[in-house]
C-alpha cells in the first residue's frame, strides 16, 4: 500500500470504523483513541497491507483494540439494574430507534460488534468471522441469538407500554 492509498483509506474508512467503535464503546474519546491506534498500526505495516484488504484490516485491528480496552476497563463498567423500571418508564416517550439503541446496549461487545458489522457495514457472515476470529456458522448463530435478545427486550418494553 502506498502513502496515497493509505490516505484514501483514511478518507473511505475512518468514519465507518469510528462509527462501529463508538457505537460499541459509547465514549467518543475512547473510540477516537482506538481508531487512531488502528490507523497507526496500519501505517506502520502499510508496506505489507494491500489496499483490497485494508478495510477488513482496519476493522479487525480496531475491534481487537476495542476488546482489549473494554477488558482493561471492565471494572469501571457499572450496570444500573435498580433503575431498570425508571428506564422503561422514560422509554414510553422514546422512538423505536431509541428502543433499539437500548436493546443494543444490553448485548455483549461481541454481539454488538456482530450486529453493527452486519447492519452498518453489510459484511457477510464470513467476513465478520474473519474480523472477530469466528467461523461463518458461529457468526450466524451468535448474530441470530443477539437479535432474539433484542427482540425479546423490545417486546417487554412494548408490553409494558
Amino acid at each position: 500500500m502506498t502513502e496515497r492509498e493509505y490516505n484514501q483509506c483514511v478518507d473511505q474508512y475512518a468514519d465507518g470504523v469510528y462509527r462501529f467503535i463508538l457505537k460499541n464503546m459509547q465514549v467518543p474519546e475512547d473510540a477516537q483513541d482506538v481508531v487512531q491506534s488502528a490507523f497507526e498500526k496500519m501505517w506502520k505495516n502499510h508496506q505489507d497491507v494491500k489496499i483490497e484488504t485494508a478495510k477488513a484490516y482496519l476493522f479487525t485491528v480496531a475491534y481487537n483494540q476495542m476488546i482489549d480496552h473494554i477488558r482493561k476497563n471492565k471494572r469501571m463498567t457499572l450496570v444500573d439494574e435498580f433503575s431498570e423500571s425508571l428506564k422503561i418508564s422514560w422509554s414510553k416517550q422514546t422512538s423505536l430507534k431509541g428502543e433499539l439503541e437500548k436493546a443494543l446496549q444490553q448485548l455483549t461487545p461481541l454481539q454488538k460488534s456482530l450486529i453493527l458489522l452486519k447492519d452498518y457495514e453489510g459484511y457477510s457472515y464470513d467476513e465478520i468471522g474473519k474480523i472477530t476470529s469466528l467461523n461463518a456458522s458461529q457468526v450466524k448463530v451468535y448474530l441470530h441469538r443477539a437479535r432474539m435478545q433484542m427482540k425479546e427486550y423490545i417486546g417487554k418494553i412494548e408490553n409494558l407500554i
Partner: protein
C-alpha cells in the same frame, strides 16, 4: 425450504441479507401465505440498524503526514546504561566501610612494625657492647695495673671517644648505664679473680672503687652527682643499683620517645610548654626533664 419450524431463522437471514433473490422471494411468499407470521417477520426486520451520519472528528491526524511525524517520536535507547550502577548498590556502601577498616588495620600494623624497628634500634646500642665490655674490663683494670695488655690503652681510648663523642647525652647515658650493668655482671669475675683480690671485690661489688672515667659515665644520669675524686670514688651500692635500674627503664623509654620525635620531627609544645609528639591523631606526652 421455509416452513413453520424454521421460518424464524429464514426471517433473520432475510434481515441479514444473506439470502439469494430466489430465497428472498420464497420467504416473502411464505409470509404472504401465513399472515400469522407477518408480525414476527416485521419485528425482526425492525431490529436492523441503519448507518448513522457519524464522522471521525479530525481525519487529518490519521493522514500519512501526521503518521510520518509520529514516526519521529523518540524511542527508548536501551543501549544507554548507567555506567556506575555498582555504586548504587546498597552493599557497596558496606564495602567502603570494610576498606576503611582494613586501611585502619594496615595503618596500625605499620605503626607497630615501626615501633618494633625503633625498639630494635634502641637495643642495638647495648648489643654493640662486646666492645664496651672490653672497655669496662680495660677501664677497670687500668688503675690497678693488673691487666697491662696491649689492648688496654686502645680500648680506653675507645671509651674516651665514646664518652666524648658527639652523641647526645641520652646515648651517653645509655652507654653509661650499660657500663654499670656490665659492672654488675659476674662475667668479668673470673678474669679479675686471678689478678687480685681487690679486683674481685670490685667486680662482685660495684660499690668499690672504679676508675674515674667509668664512674663518671655510670653516674652521669644519677639524681645526685657522684662525688668524683681523682683517686677513687666510693659510691653507695644501693644508690647505684636503684639509679641504674630506674634510669635504664626511663632511659630506654625516653630514648624511644626521643627517637620517635627526632625521626618524625613532630615534637611540639603546648601552651603550658609541655612537650608532646604528634603521631597521627595521638599526642604522646614527652617529659622535658633533663
Amino acid at each position: 425450504m421455509v416452513d413453520q419450524t424454521n421460518f424464524e431463522t429464514w426471517f433473520f437471514m432475510y434481515a441479514d441479507n444473506e439470502l439469494s433473490a430466489d430465497e428472498r422471494w420464497e420467504v416473502e411468499e411464505f409470509v404472504r401465505k401465513n399472515p400469522s407470521c407477518q408480525k414476527e417477520f416485521d419485528s425482526i426486520q425492525r431490529l436492523q440498524f441503519h448507518p448513522e451520519q457519524v464522522a471521525f472528528p479530525d481525519k487529518s491526524v490519521l493522514l500519512a503526514d501526521q503518521m510520518s511525524l509520529n514516526d519521529l517520536r523518540f524511542e527508548a535507547d536501551t543501549s544507554i546504561v548507567y555506567p556506575f550502577k555498582q555504586e548504587l548498590y546498597r552493599q557497596m556502601s558496606l564495602g567502603k566501610k570494610r576498606s576503611y577498616y582494613s586501611m585502619a588495620i594496615a595503618a596500625s600494623m605499620l605503626l607497630l612494625v615501626g615501633l618494633f624497628f625503633l625498639f630494635n634500634q634502641q637495643e642495638q646500642i647495648p648489643t654493640s657492647l662486646p666492645v664496651t665490655k672490653n672497655i669496662v674490663q680495660g677501664s677497670l683494670a687500668a688503675p690497678q695495673n693488673s691487666l697491662a695488655s696491649n689492648t688496654v690503652p686502645s680500648k680506653s681510648e675507645k671509651l674516651t671517644n665514646i664518652v666524648s663523642s658527639r652523641r647526645t647525652k641520652k646515648i651517653q647515658l645509655a652507654v653509661a648505664e650499660e657500663l654499670v650493668l656490665q659492672v654488675e655482671e659476674p662475667v668479668i669475675v673470673p678474669e679479675m679473680e686471678s689478678k687480685s683480690e681487690e679486683t674481685v671485690v670490685i667486680a662482685s661489688t660495684p660499690s668499690s672503687n672504679l676508675s674515674e672515667e667509668a664512674l663518671r659515665a655510670a653516674a652521669y644520669r644519677m639524681a645526685s652527682p657522684a662525688p668524683t675524686q681523682p683517686d677513687a670514688v666510693s659510691i653507695n651500692t644501693s644508690m647505684i643499683i636503684e639509679a641504674s635500674a630506674k634510669s635504664t627503664e626511663q632511659g630506654r623509654l625516653r630514648g624511644l620517645v626521643r627517637k620517635l620525635s627526632r625521626q618524625l620531627f613532630k615534637e611540639k609544645e603546648t601552651d603550658d610548654q609541655k612537650k608532646y609528639i604528634q603521631v597521627a591523631s595521638f599526642a604522646i606526652p614527652v617529659s622535658n626533664k633533663k
